[in-house]
């Protein structure tokens, strides 16, 4: 059974390597995700952030604006994940008081 698991994992690994060969390069300005407009003709999200992030929030750091404002739900989720990790450490590792 373990040898089957190993082969499945290896197959999945090579599938991922093969799939990553089809992705566009990072920073390639011909790629669809880096274009000014999407296929439907509406402005892409990155170009909207670059143009209007400072106008919307008066904050020069675009990364902070995206992290805490446009993607606020996502950051709330990340923080909840951190809290959950801490609580799980608390539950597993903290000694219970002996009642004898």
């Amino acid at each position: 059974m373990k040898i089957v698991n190993l082969f499945i994992l290896l197959a999945f690994f090579f599938l991922m390597i093969y799939a990553s060969a089809g992705l566009p390069d990072r920073g390639n300005n011909r790629a669809r995700m880096n274009q000014e407009k999407s296929l439907a003709g509406s402005p892409n999200a990155p170009s909207y952030y670059i143009h209007y992030a400072e106008r919307d929030t008066h904050t020069p750091n675009m990364v902070t604006v995206i992290l805490a404002d446009y993607r606020g739900y996502d950051t709330l989720g990340e923080e909840t994940v951190i809290l959950t990790a801490g609580l799980i450490c608390f539950l597993i590792l903290r000694k219970k008081k002996k009642q004898r």
């Binding site: 008066h58 750091n61 606020g72 909840t80 990790a85 450490c89």
Partner: protein, 145 residues
């Protein structure tokens, strides 16, 4: 292995260094609007300054600085600050986490800027509390800590 508590050089250096790390962490949190930084990075550095004292002096003396039970409480408080910011914006008539409706300033853009700052403070507190709590949980019951 020599007891680390007995080494005066380590204690002196870490006592000198810890407040400066804490100060720089506060700078990273509050200056996140203008330079690289934010709640996650600043919270990690705050936790590092507390863990430095814990490592150099031992956990028992370090209880005077930051008690063992404060970690999870501080983490929960940070998440609550974040959530309360979003909920308050909702109560003021907007949508959840829409800082424009917080009305912290007359201009809505500045209101959003201050909302980002509130959220970053919450994230920083949560990260700091949870990291210290994980360290304390790992050392639980260790007689030589």
């Amino acid at each position: 292995m020599t007891r680390h508590q007995d080494n005066p050089i380590v204690i002196l250096i870490s006592r000198l260094l810890s407040p400066f790390i804490m100060l720089f962490a506060l700078y990273v949190i509050f200056h996140g609007h203008y330079s690289p930084g934010g709640g996650f990075q600043g919270g990690t550095m705050l936790a590092a300054s507390i863990l430095l004292i814990r490592l150099s002096m031992g956990s028992e003396i370090a209880q005077l600085q930051f008690k063992r039970s404060w970690g999870t409480r501080l983490g929960s408080t940070g998440v609550l600050i974040y959530f309360a910011t979003g909920l308050f914006a909702m109560l003021m008539g907007g949508t959840f986490l829409n800082y424009r409706f917080l009305s912290l300033s007359k201009l809505p853009e500045y209101s959003r800027s201050y909302g980002i700052l509130l959220v970053e403070i919450g994230v920083g507190l949560a990260v700091m509390g949870i990291l210290v709590a994980i360290y304390d949980d790992l050392l639980e019951g260790d007689p030589d800590d």
